[in-house]
Symmetry: C2
Subunit: 380 residues, 2 copies
């Protein structure tokens, strides 16, 4: 999830390796519900995201402004609304993918009224996302986020943790306070999601400390679903809940978000090895250099091939740049790259099936489809 969370990366033009889209392209279609005019495939998601950001920001700012002084200051810095000294900043609060999923799912099932009703859920999900970013940056010792120093490097570790805690409280409070009959079920889902995110982060950090050959593919998939899929699924489910959708639809929306999240993670992991440094903004093979147990790597390591043995041996050594090409080749020859790409396509196809179950009208499902495409193969 770390890569997705940084939200600063440039993406390659198509899905890695294949040149084939993993799912049907979205056709241009007329704007609905007073939404922005769309000018083609690539821009639909951007328009949806921009509109979500514009809708959710006032709600988010009002929530953050209700915090006590120090917590508010750290949160406002983290969201990019203020500099460290408290002066206003231009603001880059991220791409608003989760709020967009909430609002788009609500609109798909309940129209503009449901979209409005779901605004507080969109803000709550974004608060939880940012609470995990504040904490993950501490745990992963990441020093940069959205092109700025991370909060813990500016305010210290304790303050970044405390501000994250305050954002979690704010998120669940926002949901619980709403007049919507879905409030109670929404709190349950979001609180369970927080627990799953924590379990996922735990799995991620402990996995990185274990020997490469001790990690199973199932473990990494469960971890990726918890860290990446759970909150995307929860966002979609909350949108459904606020639209008054039934249990079946809500559960299908959750699975849609989870599968799309897994597809994203698989592709992100492929890019982490074979991505073009000019586009990713990271050195080639960064994940291999960091000995990351990413999905293609673990798939390769557990393939039982001769290349797996070679890869395990390479991963057991300290990083040496001259081995990089050979390491990437070993992952590829052990089938790690193909496996990840087939899995990603499979996950997207499952996501589409769940989406059709939750929102049978393809016209109404268009926004969610565009967002799923966006997170798995951004063209900009």
């Amino acid at each position: 999830m770390a890569e997705f969370m940084t939200e600063t990366k440039q993406w390659p033009a198509g899905p890695p390796g294949t040149g084939e889209p993993p799912m049907p392209a979205v056709r241009p279609r007329p704007a609905r519900e007073g939404g922005p005019l769309l000018d083609g495939d690539g821009n639909e998601a951007t328009a949806v995201l921009d509109r979500a950001r514009a809708s959710v920001d006032p709600e988010l700012r009002a929530a953050v402004d209700s915090l006590p002084g120090a917590m508010r200051r750290i949160a406002r810095y983290h969201f990019g609304w203020e500099h460290a000294d408290g002066t206003p900043a231009a603001g880059n609060a991220g791409k608003a993918i989760r709020p967009a999923l909430v609002l788009t799912a609500a609109a798909a099932l309940g129209g503009p009224g449901a979209r409005r009703a779901a605004l507080r859920a969109a803000a709550a999900v974004e608060l939880v996302h940012n609470f995990t970013l504040l904490h993950d940056d501490v745990m992963d010792r990441d020093t940069s986020r959205r092109h700025r120093p991370t909060a813990w490097t500016v305010f210290g570790v304790s303050d970044a943790i405390l501000a994250g805690n305050a954002l979690q409280a704010l998120a669940l409070r926002l949901l619980a306070e709403g007049p919507n009959p879905a409030s109670r079920a929404a709190v349950t889902r979001l609180a369970d999601c927080v627990a799953e995110l924590c379990e996922g982060q735990h799995a991620d950090t402990t996995m990185e400390e274990r020997a490469a050959d001790e990690v199973t593919l199932d473990e990494v998939l469960v971890m990726a679903e918890a860290k990446t899929g759970a909150l995307l699924g929860c966002a979609c489910a909350l949108g459904g809940l606020y639209a008054g959708a039934g249990e079946e639809e809500v559960a299908a929306l959750d699975r849609f978000g989870r599968q799309a999240g897994l597809a994203f993670q698989l592709i992100d992991d492929v890019i982490g090895i074979w991505g073009d440094p000019d586009r990713t903004g990271k050195p080639a093979g960064a994940d291999l250099a960091a000995r990351k147990k990413s999905l293609p790597v673990v798939a390769a390591l557990t393939s039982g091939t001769a290349a797996a043995t070679e890869l395990a041996e390479l991963y057991g050594r300290p990083y040496d740049e001259k081995d990089l090409e050979r390491t990437a080749l070993a992952v590829e020859r052990a089938g790690g790259r193909d496996w990840a790409q087939v899995q990603a396509a499979d996950r997207m196809s499952r996501a589409m099936q769940e989406l059709a179950r939750a929102v049978p009208d393809p016209e109404a499902a268009g926004g969610l489809l565009a967002l799923a495409e966006f997170v798995t193969r951004r063209s900009s």
Copy 2:
């Protein structure tokens, strides 16, 4: 709050220094609502606490058992239900002061039915308390809690933080899910309390990094109220909410808990300087040795006396055991000890006024009175 939170300390027989009780003693009275028989002043609070622990534990255990695997394991260790290897432990989950305040406040205003209804609120407050303990131990680098190694020393810093996060989510979920019409207001209060606890912990950690003469008495009082008073106040208020009490009564209960919490902190700070090592289990003058900016110290430093100047000079030096007696004497001569004792008595008297406002019937208020006495002058 750290001292209160450790819940391992032995307390002196009476309020420090004066030999006078800061508030009227509680008289033995017949048990109500099927409660335990009471055998005198000192044991009433213990009986209330034991009963609260017995009532809240099944609720707590069920909640914790709903967490995903690793989060559950860390939480079960932290609560003392399991050893680090997952085998059952005798269990010392603390004195259950906060759950007891919730349940006793509910019973005082709504009888046994309200007490039962408030069980999930009691569990929620205890979950929040333990979430802050997990995090505070990390931030304060405390290695021991309830006579066992702290969770972060066993599972690592990240896991202790993550488990704390999961407990917060669980707490707010428990409240939101309940069928009680008070649920929504209860979530708001508990979430706001979490934000205040975080702000208080922030103030505490940053204050310790500042020069002693930069800290004002007001700042320390606000910090102590946020760290110690807020959750005690919230516990009482939640009890009132679940008993269907009106806004006035609930607000008075909150103020009662806050004032009692401040009285506790003042007395705890006095003990931290002049407490008997045999009873406190800590070396004499431990807080002075650690250069803690406790309430009596800051009162002394800001007194404008000659002793204040001497104290500031001593606090500016690295700790040297031979200066300990002189430092304690400087706090005393600058009026820090007297101030803290007068303040503590004043806070307890304010607490009593608020209690009378919230629960006018002295018989019904007895349990809360006993708990307030207990936290400010334990005789066992």
